[in-house]
Symmetry: C2
Subunit: 143 residues, 2 copies
DNA sequence: CTAAATTAAGACTAATTAGTCTGATATAGA
DNA sequence: TCTATATCAGACTAATTAGTCTTAATTTAG
C-alpha cells in the first residue's frame, strides 16, 4: 500500500514542489527531474502531461525546453495537485469503509476521523507551493 | 483509491466490530456477515481465514459454526486488525513519498503529518472493539 | 451413519495501478 | 536546413489488489 495518496500523486507532489523551487519561469526537463527525485522517467512524463492538460503546468518542447508551473506558485496548493491526480474522495469517505456512514448514521470513529480528515485538508491547503518550496530550501530539508 | 486502508482491511474492521457486537462466545457465519455488511462472500472468507491463523479470530466448522473473536473484545483494537491486514507502514512513511524524509531531513509538511499520523494511531488504539461495538449499538449508528 | 452446513485451502480471473516503450511532433541552435 | 533535445500520445507490459470458484475437511443434527 502506498500511503493515503497514490504513487503517481506522491511523484506529482514532489515534482511540482521542485518546480516551485526554480526561479520564476525557469523550465526543468523530465530528465533532470527524474534524476533529482528518483522517479521513473516515462512515468513522470505521463503524469506531467496530465498536469499540463489540466493547466497546472506549462511545457515547452525542444532544446532548453521542459516544464514550469502553469500559474503563480502562490496560487497552487498541494490540494490542487491531489485533486488533479487522485481526486478528493478522502474528504468524504468513511475510514472503516461503511457506505452509509455519515453524520446521521456514524460509525464508531466517525467524529475522530472527521477531525483528522479536516487536519489533512488543512495541511494540503494552508500553504501554497511557493511557501513550501521556500521552506524546503533551508539546509537539512529533503529537497 | 480506497482511503488509507485497503478494501480488505476495511472489510476486516467492519466484520470484527460486528463480531464484537455479539454475545460472548457467540458465532456468526460468513454467510450472515456478508449479508449484513454487504461484503463479497468468498472475499471475506479469505480475510477471516487469515485473521484466524493470526489468532484474532476463532472458527468452528459445521452447522451452527462460524467465527467469533479469538481473544477478549477488550484486548482487541482497530490497530491490531490494521496491523494484521495492511501492516502499519503508515506510521513511518512520508505523505509526499520522499524516501529520505525524516526528522533530520524533513519534507515541507513533515511536522503536520507527524501530528496527524499520531492522531490516526490514537484513533486506532484508544478504544477496544468492545467499546466501539457498544457505541455502535446506539440507535442511529451504522451497524 | 448420513446429509447438510460450515470453514479451509488454494488456484483462478478481473480490475486497477505502476511502469515501459515507441514513434510523432515541436523547437532551438549550428 | 539539419540535427539534437524535448514534450506528446498512446499502446503495451508488469505488479498488485480485488474478487470468484472449486474441492476438501470438519462438525452437527437427524
Amino acid at each position: 500500500m502506498s500511503l493515503i495518496f497514490s504513487r503517481q500523486c506522491e511523484y506529482a507532489l514532489q515534482a511540482v514542489v521542485f518546480l516551485a523551487l526554480q526561479k520564476e519561469g525557469e523550465r526543468v526537463s523530465i530528465k533532470d527531474l527524474t534524476k533529482k527525485l528518483d522517479i521513473p522517467y516515462h512515468f513522470l512524463a505521463k503524469i506531467f502531461q496530465d498536469l499540463s492538460r489540466k493547466g497546472l503546468l506549462e511545457s515547452l518542447k525542444g532544446p532548453g525546453g521542459g516544464f514550469s508551473l502553469g500559474m503563480a506558485a502562490r496560487d497552487i496548493t498541494l490540494f490542487h495537485i491531489v485533486e488533479a491526480i487522485d481526486g478528493v474522495d478522502f474528504t468524504q469517505k468513511c475510514v472503516m469503509g461503511f457506505a452509509e456512514c455519515s453524520g446521521k448514521h456514524p460509525c464508531a470513529v466517525h467524529e475522530k476521523w472527521a477531525a483528522l480528515r479536516d487536519g489533512i485538508y488543512s495541511m494540503l491547503v494552508s500553504k501554497d507551493v511557493a511557501q513550501l518550496a521556500m521552506e524546503m530550501k533551508k539546509p537539512g530539508y529533503a529537497l
